[in-house]
């Protein structure tokens, strides 16, 4: 796939040369060059990523429709492709209602912050060889940390609405974090044990010969389950359980604020699925034999999207458990299992490392 790498690197060189020219012409000091380059990368990645996001939202709707035995969106654009844009425009032109007794400052702040926090981990995700915005040594910790900050924001947002249903949803979100966070981190830890690295790029490149799903099947399953919990997607959407608490912590947010939450949710989904892909499904490496047929980044995206289709399937098949049952799943089953998996990984470490 050299032509693809060439294309990417030459276009990147082109952009860099433009930036350098601008720097030269305007006499901008050199120490600003690195931040500007990273920012440019981030913006380009975000633009490409938004396109992918639109696709994700569109085909989730289509898939749900097919699972439901109906047609889903059909009218706006070909196959309803423009429906999401129409929805976004609709959300933008709606009136922004802030409840009388709400905490106005938090009510305005939380949606923006939520989107921001969801976007930040994208910076360190390696989509392909040399296709990342920043490569920091502890990027895995960085992503997990950013992910676990969202329940805090949800608590703030739910509290800001001054609504009992919002508050209940927010507290549920906080409790849900207790259920998933440890098993999730420990499952990721066993991969770290294999690669001796917290760097997502190193973890990706370590899977050139064998994907970690083969060495860590239990870890993968735990990570998959806990990631659904972390994303608060059905069936683990307790904080916004429609039946009992209306829309949970989102109840009081409308118009663009709601749109931001919806968007941020899909960004979250993308980040977590990317993380699953990198940790267990071989990152940007394709499967053996047919691997070289497609560029690495395409393989990466295919894996993310297949995982997403699996998410949609799960979403449509199961009822949601209760809070106490969720905590029981997390603490009584997933946590000991993850620990056991870590111990076994540590014991078998020399043999497993030999396979890599």
């Amino acid at each position: 796939m050299s032509w693809f790498d060439d294309m990417i690197s030459s276009s990147w060189e082109f952009i860099v040369s433009i930036i350098l020219t601008v720097f030269h012409v305007l006499n901008i000091p050199d120490w600003l060059l690195d931040p500007v380059l990273i920012l440019t990368k981030v913006i380009i990645l975000l633009l490409l990523f938004s396109l992918d996001l639109l696709m994700i939202v569109w085909y989730e709707r289509k898939l749900i429709g097919r699972f439901h035995n109906r047609r889903s969106v059909t009218e706006t654009g070909k196959f309803g492709l423009l429906q999401n844009i129409a929805d976004f425009v609709k959300l933008m032109i709606k009136e922004d209602i802030i409840p009388k007794k709400a905490d106005k400052f938090l009510h305005n702040l939380v949606p923006a912050l939520f989107m921001f926090l969801a976007m930040v981990p994208l910076v360190v995700i390696p989509f392909g060889p040399n296709l990342w915005a920043a490569n920091i040594e502890t990027s895995l910790i960085f992503v997990v940390a950013m992910l676990s900050m969202t329940p805090g924001l949800i608590l703030l947002g739910g509290w800001a609405g001054n609504n009992k249903f919002s508050a209940i949803g927010a507290f549920r979100s906080g409790l849900q974090m207790v259920a998933y966070e440890l098993p999730m981190a420990i499952a990721a830890m066993s991969v770290v044990l294999l690669t001796n690295s917290l760097n997502l790029v190193t973890i990706s490149t370590a899977q050139q010969r064998i994907w970690f799903i083969a060495l860590q099947p239990i870890g993968f399953l735990i990570f998959l389950v806990t990631s659904v919990m972390a994303l608060e997607r059905m069936p683990f959407d307790l904080p916004e359980a429609e039946a009992e608490i209306v829309a949970g912590w989102k109840t009081e947010f409308g118009s663009l604020k709601f749109g931001l939450f919806m968007g941020a949710e899909y960004v979250h989904v993308f980040v977590v699925l990317s993380l699953t892909t990198i940790l267990f499904l071989g990152g940007w490496y394709g499967p053996p034999v047919i691997g070289p047929l497609l560029p690495p980044v395409v393989w990466f995206l295919i894996k993310v999207h297949l995982l997403f289709i699996f998410y949609v399937w799960v979403r449509l098949s199961y009822p949601r458990p209760r809070l106490d049952q969720l905590l029981r799943i997390g603490w009584r089953w997933l946590f000991p299992l993850a620990l056991l998996n870590l111990i076994v990984t540590a014991l078998l470490h020399p043999y497993l490392v030999a396979l890599i």
């Binding site: 749900i64 035995n69 359980a241 009992e244 449509l316 098949s317 009822p319």
Partner: protein, 538 residues
């Protein structure tokens, strides 16, 4: 011990009553399978307690009153789980100061019934724990079902404006502790399936108590009916339940036929039995998909269920032109004959449903999470279910094998072979099992009848009548034992129409289930009741 034949004979109960309470009994008579006892108003509770404890009458079917202009007549109907006899206690009350002893101390199921009578007739029940108006606002003037009631404008606007300051009222009334919170779920809320309000008092994530407040869409069907002719009321009874309107207007026409002394042709009876069972299937499908949606499956079963229901609605549309409120039954038969090819299509639809049932069962029962959400949730033990007045599938889920179709057969249910679906645990899962079982039994019933529909007329011409008399008919609605009682006093319109609605009694069992349960179980519990606000706020 009395034998079954003796138990089925109303005379037996009358003799026993006369032997026990000689002096307070004013009159006794047998009307069909009703054992009617006229009791002095001071002894109503005594006789009712005796009927419950000694004679095994298990539940009050309904309580109603008739305004006789010079006095109020109180009428209780009680059912028996082992006999078709309906024990009826009637008593005359002073119109200016109607006071009678409450039955709630030994019959908790009478709670809402007595509140309703207080609301509509102003009858005061001594010893009732919470004698407030049931449907109307607390400061409403007058008693609507009395004959001399003159409607007055109610100050809705001031009432609505002052409503938001009423939190203090609740605090004062329900004495919240510091760590407790009162949540108004409704009148608009996703789980409620209609417009009512569920009040829950929570401590942390645990519901300490919960109780329903109803009356938001009360239309006064009983009062409206008093101003309409018998045949004009049929569409009105249709609106009692938007999920099973077929069963309601059929019940109404059956009651009027009994009052008129008209026997519908046998073909009409076949058709009615078939459409009633179809309606039961449709109603249970709606219940199933609502449960699935409420406990959090993302509407996948919802749409599969609607697909199934759609075929039945098409069939209904073919016979009566409507898809929701059918008005198909008429006094003396049915509105139209079944069209050509309808039976073949029905057979096909039933075969489809039978083929799909395992699939639906698998989507629900096949998932461990479904068991987690429904097992041991909202449990009503056998005793509590009977005490609280649970009806139909709710009762059968608590291991009570009671079905009006079996015990007091109407239409053609005496001729067909079917079983009563019961389950043992009384939780949400049992209710699910019972309703799924009933769908299968309904399929069986229809399949037995479908090839035997005799030819002949489907409707008898019945000219308008001015009947004098009373008629009481009870049927097994998809939600439980439903009944209607019509009093005719020689006019073209009924003097009094009583509608006994099972969903109302099932809703009144909610406080028994919402005690020390996690907050999230509200969804499963409320969904398991199978509510239909149209018939509750009748």
């Amino acid at each position: 011990m009395a034998t079954k034949e003796v138990l089925a004979n109303p005379e037996y109960y009358l003799t026993e009553t006369k032997n026990k309470f000689g002096d307070v009994i004013e009159e006794t008579k047998v009307v069909g399978n009703q054992a009617v006892v006229y009791v002095k108003s001071s002894s109503v509770a005594k006789v009712a307690r005796w009927a419950k404890e000694e004679m095994n009458f298990k539940q009050p079917i309904w309580l109603t009153a008739i305004d006789n202009k010079d006095n109020l007549e109180l009428v209780y109907f009680f059912n028996h789980f082992g006999s078709p006899v309906i024990y009826t206690i009637r008593s005359f009350l002073d119109r200016d100061n109607p006071v009678v002893e409450s039955l709630t101390s030994f019959w908790p199921a009478a709670n809402w019934l007595e509140r309703e009578m207080y609301d509509m007739f102003g009858i005061k029940f001594e010893g009732h724990p919470n004698l407030r108006r049931l449907y109307l606002p607390d400061d409403w003037e007058g008693y609507p079902l009395r004959k001399d009631y003159v409607p007055k404008e109610y100050p809705w606007k001031e009432r609505v404006e002052s409503y938001y300051d009423s939190n203090e009222y609740y605090k004062e009334h329900f004495k919240l502790a510091d760590n407790e919170m009162l949540i108004h779920m409704g009148p608009q809320h996703p789980i409620l399936h209609g417009t009512w309000k569920l009040m829950v008092r929570v401590r942390g994530d645990t519901i300490v108590e919960g109780w329903p407040e109803i009356g938001y869409i009360h239309r006064g069907t009983e009062k409206l009916a008093e101003g309409l002719r018998y045949e004009q009321i049929i569409p009105l009874t249709d609106r009692l339940c938007y999920v099973s309107s077929m069963s309601w207007h059929t019940l109404y026409t059956m009651t009027v036929e009994k009052l008129f002394g008209v026997e519908p042709p046998i073909r009409a009876q076949y058709i009615r039995t078939i459409v009633l069972e179809m309606q039961r299937i449709v109603s249970h499908i709606i219940w199933l998909i609502a449960l699935a949606a409420d406990i959090g499956t993302y509407h996948s079963l919802f749409l599969y269920g609607l697909r199934e229901r759609e075929k039945f609605l098409d069939l209904f549309e073919q016979i009566c032109g409507a898809r929701l409120t059918y008005t198909y039954s008429r006094i003396g038969g049915v509105a139209k004959d079944i069209p050509d090819g309808w039976i073949e299509k029905l057979k096909e639809t039933l075969a489809d449903l039978e083929r799909h049932m395992p699939e639906y069962r698998d989507l629900m029962e096949g998932s461990e999470l479904f068991h987690m959400r429904t097992r041991n949730v909202g449990t009503l033990s056998r005793e509590t279910a009977i005490e609280a007045g649970a009806r139909g599938p709710m009762l059968r889920a608590s291991n009570v094998s009671y079905d009006v179709r079996k015990i007091d057969p109407y239409l053609l249910y005496g001729d067909v072979d079917f079983d009563i679906a019961t389950a043992k645990d009384g939780d949400v899962y049992s209710r699910y099992l019972v309703r799924m079982g009933e769908v299968e039994e309904s399929i069986r019933i229809i399949q037995q009848l479908i090839d035997k529909i005799p030819s002949g007329e489907y409707r008898k011409k019945v000219s308008p009548k001015k009947p004098v008399g009373e008629a009481f008919v009870r049927t097994e609605d998809p939600r439980g034992e439903s009944a209607m009682f019509i009093v005719g006093r020689g006019t073209f319109n009924p003097y009094r129409l009583m509608i006994a609605t099972p969903a109302y009694m099932n809703l009144s069992t909610i406080p028994y289930m919402l005690k020390n349960v996690p907050f999230a179980d509200v969804a499963a519990i409320v969904a398991s009741v199978d509510l239909c606000m149209g018939e509750i706020d009748k």
